[in-house]
């Protein structure tokens, strides 16, 4: 069980955030000014946005809708240039039963007036959110995103295996986990396919890797498989693609693969379990996918250090590298490098991570939440793999 904020659609949040979302880059500054002035808000901005079309437009719709309807969000202020551009985004948020207001700069033609309107909306929502009580929730409502970034040789031997133990513990308690980063599983997708609950899911995960390789080819990377491991990976000791992928897949524990979804698609945990989302490998893009998919918490293993987190999903940062752990005492929420000295088993370290996930679910802050250094990035097709 955990104590979470109940939502009209039956989901439960581990936070009750007012998300101030800028729908296009020309309004990012306005959204930032609103968030700077109201406690209880988080900033979601992106680049581009104006006049986007085709696949990129579809992806932004899904990403913004997914983040705005994440169970952690109690209210949304959309900031945009003109009100019509916000209508498409506002409708599904209202359908999910969340308060939503729009601030359109061109209604005011004034920075100060549009920011003032945004502050008023956000403050009213934050006041309302602050009065809502947490209620007991089953772990079947908890979805944990699994992330690694700044990976090094310890990632596959300490941090990721410990996260895999925590993932299995959450799954066995009725919760769900999402693994992402398609390029990182390339070379081990057959192992994930073997864990699939049925042939359709097995085919989907193999196809997700093939689709990503095709996208890479179109974008001028003719053989992404051959270019991995990269030069810095090789210098660090990774010899083959399979070795790199196996280390990454360790995060996902050992339970069956229930389903495969596209970037920013909602992961409906029905049944609860282990899911895969096809995302690019860079952390901010994949975390944005996880948050848009409905993950309330992200557990992020960094080998050599990585400062990022997601504004909508509290991100637990940890490492299995003793040097990284000693340097990151101010921004790592826990560490598991004692696996490497034999002081703890991987199972014990995994429990340490699991206990932190439950604590964060119940309200404990992560360092990156406290520093407010989060970054959301919606992928742009063709640019990232």
């Amino acid at each position: 069980m955990f104590n979470g904020f109940p939502r009209p659609n039956g989901s439960a949040g581990v936070r009750n955030l007012v998300a101030v979302i800028s729908l296009m880059d020309n309004c990012n500054g306005l959204a930032r000014k609103i968030v700077e002035n109201v406690r209880g808000t988080v900033l979601v901005t992106d680049l581009f946005g104006r006049k986007m079309q085709g696949t990129n437009h579809e992806m932004r719709l899904k990403a913004f809708e997914g983040m705005a309807t994440n169970p952690n969000v109690g209210g949304v202020v959309l900031v945009t240039l003109h009100a019509t551009s916000a209508e498409t985004f506002a409708a599904p948020i209202a359908v999910a039963g969340k308060d939503v207001e729009t601030v359109a700069y061109q209604d005011f033609g004034s920075t100060l007036k549009s920011v003032e309107q945004g502050i008023l909306h956000a403050a009213k929502m934050a006041k309302k959110c602050s009065g809502v009580q947490r209620e007991e929730q089953p772990l079947s409502k908890l979805v944990l995103g699994l992330e690694c970034g700044g990976s090094d040789f310890t990632s596959g031997i300490s941090g990721n295996p410990a996260l895999g133990v925590a993932a299995d513990m959450l799954l066995d308690a009725g919760g769900s986990v999402i693994l992402s980063e398609t390029a990182e599983i390339m070379g081990a997708e057959h192992l994930l396919a073997a864990r699939a609950v049925n042939d359709a899911v097995a085919k989907k995960i193999v196809q997700a890797v093939a689709d990503m390789e095709e996208m890479a080819r179109i974008a001028g990377v003719p053989d992404i498989r051959r270019s991995n491991p990269a030069a810095d990976n090789i210098k660090g000791g990774l010899t083959t693609l399979a070795e790199k992928a196996l280390g990454a897949v360790k995060k996902a524990g050992s339970r069956p693969l229930q389903g495969v979804v596209d970037y920013c698609e909602p992961v409906v945990p029905d049944p609860p379990g282990f899911y895969f989302m096809s995302t690019p490998a860079p952390a901010c893009e994949s975390m944005t996918g996880l948050a848009a998919g409905g993950a309330q918490i992200i557990a992020f293993n960094t080998g050599s250090g990585q400062p990022s987190s997601h504004p909508v999903a509290p991100t637990i940062k940890f490492t299995g590298n003793p040097l990284t752990a000693s340097r990151g005492v101010d921004d790592l929420d826990l560490e598991v490098s004692d696996i490497l000295t034999g002081a703890v088993s991987i199972a014990e370290a995994g429990k340490r991570i699991y206990d932190e996930v439950i604590a964060v679910a119940n309200g404990r802050y992560t360092y990156t939440e406290l520093y407010d250094t989060a970054q959301s990035t919606i992928s742009v097709q063709g640019a990232s793999f």
Partner: protein, 94 residues
């Protein structure tokens, strides 16, 4: 913590079917590497300098045989590999 005889842990094997260990620190040729596998320890003499993060063979591996890490095949030996040898791109293929 360290191995029962007090020496520090130089490398880790992930699974008991692995034939390589991953070095936690640089190991000099000729040195005895203390390798941890779960709660077990073994010693292997390094035949070459093996840098931190790189792999050391814990047994002889014949050309064409599988290189096993994480209990899975990660590649195969492109040459005969002696026990204690540096295992990397120069003697492993996909």
């Amino acid at each position: 913590m360290a191995a029962p005889d007090g020496t520090k842990i130089d490398a880790i094997m992930v699974s008991d079917t692995d034939n390589v260990a991953t070095c936690l620190d640089d190991i000099a040729a000729g040195g005895d590497a203390t390798i941890m596998l779960g709660k077990e320890f073994l010693k292997v003499r390094a035949e070459h300098d093996v840098p931190r993060g790189h792999k050391l063979a814990v047994m002889a591996i014949a050309k064409g045989d599988a290189i096993v890490k994480y209990g899975e095949v990660i590649g195969k030996a492109s040459a005969d590999i002696a026990k204690g040898a540096h295992v990397h791109v120069h003697n492993v293929v996909d």
